[in-house]
Symmetry: C2
Subunit: 200 residues, 2 copies
DNA sequence: AAATAAAACGAACGGTCGTGCTATTTTTTA
DNA sequence: TAAAAAATAGCACGACCGTTCGTTTTATTT
């Protein structure tokens, strides 16, 4: 009677652990994530959880990776159904905005960026790689909008990507401290001005 | 033979401790600040340091306050020598930019904002109060620029303050991850566009 | 059903954490 | 200079940290 899921038990509980770890890291950051708390939360023993990752750092890296995948699945993938150019770019921003609403009580990727920007090590490298990758995707979307003629041919894609990112940082910041509603209004207004100023 | 500094020994060493604590918190955040490490760093016993604050939370609050004062002394105060309006506003931004250069390896206020935005307690309240206060100062400077006729009368001061803040978040973010030089260029370019678009 | 492999547990390790407490040293006051 | 007060050190506490290891349970294979 071999039920034998193709995924295997190991992969399965590992996924469960990562779910809980991701949730905990949203509140306390990757640096605040402890194996003991995580084990209690997931209903396992400390050593049982530990065995799945081999070290705390590997756990943190796995959570970072999980966060990256979730972000892409939420923000980038759905936007690919929209036509290349400005429609897709605006879809990315809209999805990102909703991601911000969902994660106003803490985003793993963003807190990781500020936790590890100053030091070195595997986590720093992972964060830089993740951030550079996402910035690249964003820049690519801008580039396509230029190619499609939706933005001026002289547009500096890296510059616009930076400004888009800065506005989303403003959204997360203000949403976390002062509430999402007002932060969302300000961000929306800023984006309207942004599109207008780059379309000419 | 009473040398008797007016400041008193207590205030004096407390200031020394806060200096070291501030430096440590720049790298590890307020949450990563530990009394043992701090005591070693300042060359005192753990309990000796502890006695100056009564609790770790009070120490963290004191460091937050110290950071706030340093920021104001660096960014706002020197700008007050410039004439009200756009000159002073631009001076604020310029000083803030230089503050960013100096603090690219971690800013206590900014990391505190992302550390405590999600939870509650005295530190959360302190961070919100500090951030709201600074945003208020920024908004006031914008308001004055409107009154002086340097910005259009229809200018939404809170909106412009938000966008200025967002760009500085972008600067800190990119400087920490990708280096200050490119981040500084992008931020400068973004500000040029920003001033132009609000001056009309 | 028996043998084998995988997974989770439980206890313990050396460390560090924040925090009390009492003693000792240093500074200030008289 | 002696007495009073303030500042610091030293030590211990319970709790939690990441990690290791041997045992026990669970799942897979023969």
């Amino acid at each position: 009677m071999t039920t034998s899921l193709v995924i295997g038990k190991r992969t399965n509980t590992r996924e469960t652990i990562l779910d809980h770890a991701y949730a905990l890291a949203r509140r306390d950051g990757l640096e605040g994530l402890s194996i003991g708390t995580l084990a209690t939360d997931v209903g396992m023993s400390k050593s049982g959880v530990f065995a799945h990752f081999g070290s705390r750092e590997d756990l943190q890296l796995a959570v970072l990776d999980a966060g990256s995948h979730r972000f892409m699945a939420w923000v980038l993938l759905p936007a690919l159904k929209h036509p290349r150019g400005l429609p897709r770019l605006r879809a990315i921003v809209a999805n990102w905005f909703e991601w911000g609403r969902e994660h106003q009580s803490g985003c793993v990727l963003l807190s990781a960026a500020s936790e590890y920007d100053g030091r070195d090590g595997a986590l720093h490298d992972g964060v830089v790689q993740q951030q550079a990758g996402w910035r690249g995707e964003l820049q690519k979307a801008v580039d396509q909008a230029v190619q499609e003629g939706h933005l001026g041919a002289h547009t500096d894609a890296a510059q616009l990507a930076f400004e888009i990112y800065a506005l989303m940082l403003g959204l997360h910041h203000d949403a976390g401290l002062f509430g999402f509603d007002e932060a969302g209004r300000r961000t929306t207004a800023a984006f309207e001005r942004l599109w207008r100023s780059w379309q000419l």
